[in-house]
């Protein structure tokens, strides 16, 4: 075996007296690709930051990190600066904030080159253009002169990859590099990342909570739980026969669709009921203000002529990538946004008329994506859940009703006396669900309700929603960008692209034999545990 490129020995990280990383030891061989996996709060990112000497203020590391025979932890900041970018580099999750918004892309990529390799400005820029081409950006010359906001999310992340690879580092650390991207873009970026790492003979440490993503890029896997490594070894071995219970739990949480091809859906459409929502030719356009006086306004069609029925008792899944108009559609259904044109009826009530909003509130309620932002931080949970009852003037014993609702979403009885920030993401989402159920709605609209949650929590939350649907006799509209989640919960699915409905039908049919190219692309982009979806490395 060759000498390891980087060796982490007994690495611990403390925040005051709290242990964040607990005696982690592992090593990475030159040119290897390793996945560091675990749920949020498991210490994945902190481990990587400690390796690069980038720990935030107030954190302190002990142990040794040896790169090419030199210990990094004991070295002064000045030496580390020289190593960062040239010997090791990092790709961050959110390329919009990781790139300087007022600096052109080309110059940002050229910056490490000028620093570490003392290149002249034109030389560095030329190399930057070349690098942008190699990560698959069209018209690299023009893009190098663009600002970050002028690029799409996928292009920005490609630019980050180009920047990380610019000085030919031995190690690249990528922290959730595709989590903020759409599925189809994620597949492209992962492919570029893997191929470029291989082409540059660099080692990769890929940090992610997404097991199928790891499976498709990494050869080895390290599993972190509460800051400690519970298992490490070759990916194929660990994914096929996990030794630790925690790894098994993570694997069980992977949706069936990502495990194998051709899984039948959990639900089949029941006998069609009466429509509870009827939308006819609904449009919503936004006018962007013209930059110059003479220019015509730029018009965005967020929802572009959508007609649909939601039938009583079903779960309708709406899938689409960001910007497909699915959230706008949900808000139009509730009357939170007024459509530019078209008809929207909920239980025969015209939602677009302002005077009808009140009765609609009692019929339809919504759960939002971000359980952090959807609960007022200055209100007790008890008041949060009781708010809709008070707002709609529903009579009865509110205290008892709140207790009943909290029990229904399996939260302990004392939940009501605490503040939202005292709970985990999954628990907060349960509070949000309890609030939505408070007025006794017939229709529950869930807008990406599990996207901000860890995978194992996702599964539990989906099961809870299924249970509540039966208990409360609900009709559900479930919106998500994640096809495997929609596959788990829906009877019928509706695929949206750029404000239009592309395809609709029972989940089994649409996912097994998609009629439209776009649906096929979406399905093909789902990462799978067998690691097959990216194809062999170039």
């Amino acid at each position: 075996m060759t000498a390891p490129l980087i060796e982490v020995d007994d690495l611990s990280v403390f925040a005051g007296s709290t242990v964040i990383v607990d005696r982690a030891s592992f090593s990475l061989a030159p040119g290897s690709r390793t996945g560091l996996i675990g749920e949020s709060g498991s210490g994945k990112t902190i481990t990587a930051l400690a390796m690069l000497g980038l720990l935030p203020d107030g954190l302190r590391a002990t142990g040794t990190v040896t790169l090419n025979g030199q210990d990094l932890l004991s070295r002064p900041e000045r030496d580390l600066v020289a190593l960062r970018g040239s010997a090791m580099s990092m790709i961050f999750q959110e390329p919009m904030t990781a790139l300087n918004p007022v600096m052109r892309i080309g110059r940002q990529i050229a910056e490490p080159l000028r620093m570490h390799q003392d290149m002249s400005r034109p030389d560095a820029f030329a190399l930057a253009v070349e690098l942008l081409g190699s990560v698959g950006i069209d018209e690299p010359e023009r893009r190098a002169r663009s600002f970050p906001h002028e690029l799409s999310g996928g292009q920005r992340q490609r630019a980050m990859i180009a920047m990380a690879l610019s000085c030919g580092p031995d190690l690249v650390v990528a922290d959730e590099p595709t989590t903020a991207l759409d599925v189809t873009i994620q597949a492209q970026v992962l492919r570029v990342l893997r191929d470029q790492i291989v082409a540059n003979d660099a080692a990769l440490l890929l940090i992610t909570h997404d097991l199928p993503v790891v499976a498709s890029v990494a050869e080895d896997v390290i599993v972190l739980k509460d800051g400690a490594i519970v298992e490490q070894g070759p990916a194929t071995e660990i994914f096929s026969s996990p030794a630790h219970a925690y790894t098994r739990k993570l694997l069980d949480a992977v949706p069936p669709m990502s495990r194998s091809v051709g899984v039948p859906p959990k639900h089949v459409p029941a006998t069609p009921g009466e429509p509870i929502v009827e939308m006819r030719d609904v449009r919503k356009t936004y006018r962007l203000r013209h930059r110059k006086l003479r220019d015509p306004d730029h018009v965005i069609h967020a929802v572009d002529g959508v007609s649909l029925d939601v039938l009583k008792g079903e779960t309708l899944g709406i899938v689409g990538e960001s910007g497909s108009g699915k959230s706008t559609l949900a808000r139009i259904m509730l009357g939170l946004i007024r459509p530019t044109s078209g008809q929207v009826m909920v239980e025969g009530i015209d939602v677009t008329a302002r005077k009808n909003l009140r009765p609609v509130r009692e019929i339809a309620q919504i759960v939002f994506q971000d359980p952090m932002g959807s609960l007022d931080p200055r209100m007790l949970v008890r008041d949060v859940v009781a708010e809709p009852l008070r707002a709609l003037g529903i009579a009865g014993d509110h205290r008892a009703r709140v207790a009943e609702l909290l029990a229904a979403v399996s939260l302990p009885a004392d939940t009501g006396d605490r503040y939202p920030h005292e709970f985990s993401g999954g628990q907060r989402q349960r509070i949000a669900i309890a609030r939505a159920l408070a007025p006794g709605p017939d229709l529950l609209i869930a807008d990406e309700p599990v996207s901000a949650l860890d995978m194992s929590v996702q599964t539990i939350t989906l099961d809870l929603l299924d249970q509540l649907k039966a208990d409360f006799d609900l009709t559900m509209v479930f919106i998500s960008h994640d096809l495997s989640v929609v596959h788990e919960i829906s009877d019928r699915v509706l695929v949206m692209q750029q404000g239009r409905v592309v395809e609709t039908g029972p989940v089994g049919n649409v996912f097994a034999s998609p009629q439209q190219r776009y649906t096929r692309d979406l399905l093909a982009a789902i990462p799978r545990l067998d690691g097959s979806f990216l194809g062999p490395a170039a």
Binding site: F14, R60, L334, G373, D376, P377, L392
Partner: protein, 291 residues
């Protein structure tokens, strides 16, 4: 690990900043409470009657005949005047800030909730008011009504409305974007209720800080207006007017200007420190870093 070992690991700069923060708050609070205490005490007791004129005691030096800070050109006790002046200063701050907040917060909240052309109209209108210097506004109002502490302060309060409206709108805008506001709409709450119940508590810290700073500015503005002779009218003692009166005797008896000046400076400093300290203490982001 013990707590002491843990705190020893906090970077020293962090700790020093924390100590400064608490010092600001403590000092500011101390000064403000002292001013309030002095104002309250002056209702029941002052060393001498601050308005009593006694030609035989004109321009006494500090400590002469029991006058701790001496007397002015009419023989009035300086210390008593300053003590009663604190009352005026606080009254002025409360009135001006009260007016600014009572009008500014609803305006800012309304603009943030409605957006669109409503916001444009409201905010441009407040820009127009903002374009007038507060003192000019005060002079206009005093000319129209009558000189006095009240009308001067109403003018200062109105002049501060755009500042409060702007701060409120800016802070409220970001809160209105949050999902819990959408959630409140989805179960039927109107804008007014959402603003009062959901948005205001979440922007209160910003507003409180702004209020302490405006309070300090209002005290300064009153002093300036009284110095010009269009603020507090005699015989009501005011620090600003004391300064004006002292102007004539600056050569002869500078302490007549020094003590009211010190009172103004220290009080304004106190409110500013309090604002600074509160901003740090109420900032939840700093809270997280400290725990």
């Amino acid at each position: 690990m013990t707590d002491r070992a843990a705190s020893a690991e906090t970077p020293p700069t962090e700790r020093r900043r924390g100590r400064w923060r608490r010092l600001n708050l403590g000092l500011g609070l101390g000064i403000v409470l002292t001013v309030i205490a002095v104002a309250l005490v002056s209702f029941v007791w002052t060393p001498f009657d601050p308005e009593r004129i006694d030609a035989s005691k004109r321009l006494l030096g500090a400590g002469e005949q029991g006058h701790l800070l001496g007397t002015d050109q009419f023989g009035r006790d300086l210390l008593s005047g300053i003590m009663v002046g604190a009352r005026t200063a606080l009254f002025v701050g409360i009135l001006a800030v009260g007016i600014a907040v009572a009008i500014g917060i609803p305006i800012g909240g309304f603009a943030a909730a409605r957006r669109g052309w409503v916001e444009d109209v409201v905010m441009r209108a407040s820009d127009v008011v903002y374009a007038f210097p507060p003192v000019l506004l005060a002079i206009l109002l005093v000319a129209a009504v009558s000189p006095g502490t009240g009308s001067a302060m109403v003018a200062i309060g109105i002049a501060y409305v755009p500042i409060v409206a702007r701060v409120t709108r800016g802070a409220a805008l970001s809160v209105f974007q949050l999902d819990f506001v959408s959630a409140a709409r989805s179960y039927g709450r109107g804008n007014a209720y959402i603003f009062v119940r959901h948005v205001l508590p979440n922007i209160a810290s910003v507003l409180i800080v702004q209020m302490t700073i405006l309070f300090a500015l209002a005290i300064l503005a009153e002093a300036a207006l009284s110095f010009l002779g269009i603020g507090t009218q005699p015989p009501t003692p005011s620090w600003g007017r004391s300064l004006r009166d002292a102007q004539t005797f600056l050569q002869l008896s500078p302490r007549l200007a020094i003590w009211p000046g010190v009172a103004i400076a220290v009080t304004v400093l106190g409110f500013n420190l309090l604002g600074d300290g509160l901003r740090d203490a109420l900032d939840p982001r700093l809270e997280v870093r400290r725990t």
